[in-house]
């Protein structure tokens, strides 16, 4: 029993045994490449195919329906080898006919031995190793970092399946090994040597006979010979380039995936060093609507994902010498530009909502008995060990705004200043500022800021943070507290409040507890430590 394939030649259907098909396919391929560059190639081939159909038609009858390898051999005997087809004044005598040369090896997916997509068996065939090992490598790489999965999927998409017999032969072809590359190289060098010698002798006779025709012809040969050697060097170079690019792509992908799925972190440099805060929380609190957020994040993912995928694909292509996929680069570029436009549009949209500044001030007079010492203390809302510099917190020192991961509200640091009152009246001015797309927006945003303070007899209690109402977006909200005190007022300052004090000439960050200050016409001065 033998498997047969149904083929059509010149509009006639034949049932052909598998081995016969392979032989016929190779034969036609060889003829095809023999006539490469000949203007009437298509016509000659269709003539030849018509004749083959005719010969085969003669060989089948009711008692013999299937074309066997003997029939194909008969066809080849009648038609002759490609080298007999003439037109070969361009080819050197003794040049190997493509019919006899080994098939070039190509990477295919193997549908017959596949478990998932046939990628591993295909790679196994390509490197001539047991596919089990390829599977092991893939599984290990997936378990370790997950990038193997990405590589697998890319290969699954871009590597063609070996559907026809010829493709299966190509898949199995001569294994690509280092010794093979070396052998090819030696062959090429040998060939080149011959060509140079040939050229030299031909050149001499050419000089004698002064035949220009010879000169140009063998000049071409020299160029071909050189380019053959160059090609091998180029192939080796491209292979290693591919390996480097692939590894870089893999490394970057791991970073990228971890940013997207595992530890969404954005880093910012400030005076305390590298700060990290979660990407999504930040985006959440800056963008106006969920749709905006989704669109922006998608745009961002495509924007950074496409170059990575193209990098992986480029590396794989160089390593396995896969021909370029039509339109792939174009499509990727187009998608990338679209993503760029999307992110830019939404970026501008966000930037626009920071366009106008607005402020909202509250003022209150304090009842103070002149002899009293005012105690300024902090009302603590933040955890006792909370430090703004801690990682996991979105912190811009210059904008004095923080967003902690566990709290869903945004807390900002107030800036507190102590000044002498020009008119001897003690008062507190709370100045809230914010940004907005319009002036009114900005003022509205400033109004919404929630900052608590209170007076208990001679104690002024300032909250250590201001709060934005739930759902409120970050619009560079800031709170400045100005405490105006009459000259001669003595003051103590709670140590918890120190970090929030603005610059005062005579107060250092590390002031001792219980230090007594006095308000003078030149601001605060230390009275007693």
């Amino acid at each position: 029993m033998k498997k047969t394939l149904t083929i059509s030649i010149s509009g006639f259907v034949f049932h052909v045994e598998e081995d016969a098909y392979e032989k016929l396919h190779l034969y036609l391929e060889a003829i095809n490449s023999h006539f490469k560059g000949f203007a009437g190639k298509e016509e000659v081939i269709s003539d030849v195919e018509a004749r083959i159909a005719e010969i085969l038609q003669k060989n089948i009858s009711e008692s013999k329906e299937v074309i066997t390898i003997a029939d194909i051999e008969e066809v080849i005997a009648i038609m002759g080898q490609p080298s007999d087809f003439g037109m070969d004044e361009e080819t050197e005598p003794g040049a190997p006919s493509p019919y006899y040369s080994a098939l070039p090896k190509r990477l295919y997916r193997d549908p017959e031995r596949k478990m998932i997509g046939g990628v591993c068996t295909g790679l196994g065939s390509y490197f001539n190793i047991d596919p089990v090992w390829v599977r092991v490598i893939f599984l290990v790489s997936i378990a370790v970092s997950g990038f193997g999965l990405l590589v697998y999927i890319i290969l699954w998409i871009v590597v063609p399946e070996a559907r026809t017999t010829a493709e299966r032969l190509e898949m199995k072809g001569e294994p690509v090994t280092v010794s093979n590359i070396e052998k090819n190289f030696k062959d090429e060098m040998h060939d080149l040597n011959d060509r140079v010698k040939d050229f030299a002798s031909k050149a001499k006779s050419t000089l004698r006979k002064e035949k220009d025709e010879f000169k140009s012809r063998h000049g071409d040969n020299i160029r071909n010979g050189l380019s053959d050697v160059g090609r091998i060097f180029l192939r080796i170079f491209l292979f290693f380039l591919g390996v480097i690019i692939l590894f870089m792509g893999i490394a970057l992908s791991v970073v990228y995936l971890s940013i997207l799925f595992k530890f969404p972190v954005v880093a910012v440099m400030d005076h305390a060093g590298l700060q990290a805060f979660p990407l999504y929380s930040v985006i959440d609190r800056i963008f106006t609507s969920d749709t905006d957020i989704r669109t922006f994040v998608t745009g961002l993912m495509i924007l950074s994902g496409i170059p990575l995928i193209m990098m992986l694909w480029g590396g794989i292509r160089l390593i396995f010498n896969i021909p370029r996929v039509k339109f792939l680069a174009g499509l990727a570029g187009l998608a990338w530009v679209c993503a760029l436009i999307i992110t830019l549009i939404f970026g501008f949209k966000v930037a626009n909502s920071f366009r106008y500044p607005g402020e909202y001030a509250r003022e209150a007079e304090l009842e103070i008995v002149r002899a009293d010492t005012i105690h300024i203390v902090a009302e603590k809302h933040l955890p006792p060990d909370f430090r703004w510099e801690k990682s996991g917190v979105f912190y811009f020192p210059e904008v004095r705004m923080a967003l902690s991961n566990d709290e869903e509200i945004i807390r900002g640091i107030p800036l507190i200043k102590l000044r002498n009152s020009k008119d001897s009246i003690a008062r507190i001015i709370i100045l809230a500022t914010a940004k907005g797309a319009f002036k009114n927006d900005a003022i509205e945003n400033a109004e919404k800021i929630n900052y608590n303070w209170q007076q208990k007899n001679d104690t002024l209690v300032f909250s250590d943070s201001f709060i934005l109402p739930e759902g409120e977006k970050w619009r560079k909200q800031e709170v400045r507290v100005e405490v105006q005190l009459p000259e001669g007022t003595t003051i103590t300052i709670d140590e918890h409040l120190r970090p929030f004090l603005g610059y005062h000439k005579n107060i250092s960050r590390h002031e001792k507890i219980g230090t007594l200050f006095m308000m003078t016409n030149e601001g605060l001065v230390k009275v007693r430590e």
Binding site: G11, G40, V44, D47, M79, M87, P93
Partner: protein, 113 residues
Amino acid sequence: MDIERNNAQMRKGALELCILSIVSREDAYASDIIEKLKSARLIVVEGTLYPLLTRLKNDGLLSYRWEESTQGPPRKYYRITESGQKVLDGMAQDWTELVGSVERLLKGKAVRL
């Protein structure tokens, strides 16, 4: 050293002449031409013929028409064109002259040997 190649080129020139001459007598299908060339021992396999026919056709020396066949695909029947006929006449004349001179020369050489 290049005897084989010279032979092939000589044969190729002669082949074109022979094909034109065969087709000029009556319209012919590739296999008919092959049969005649084979019996004249000018070619061995059919493959040789197809590129030559295509080239002669592309040069405008031959034209063809399709004819249905009881066996297999329709066949191309080649016919000589007017310019083909002229070329054939010229070539035939040249050939006769060439053969005459070459034979005279070869004979002379043989005599001298």
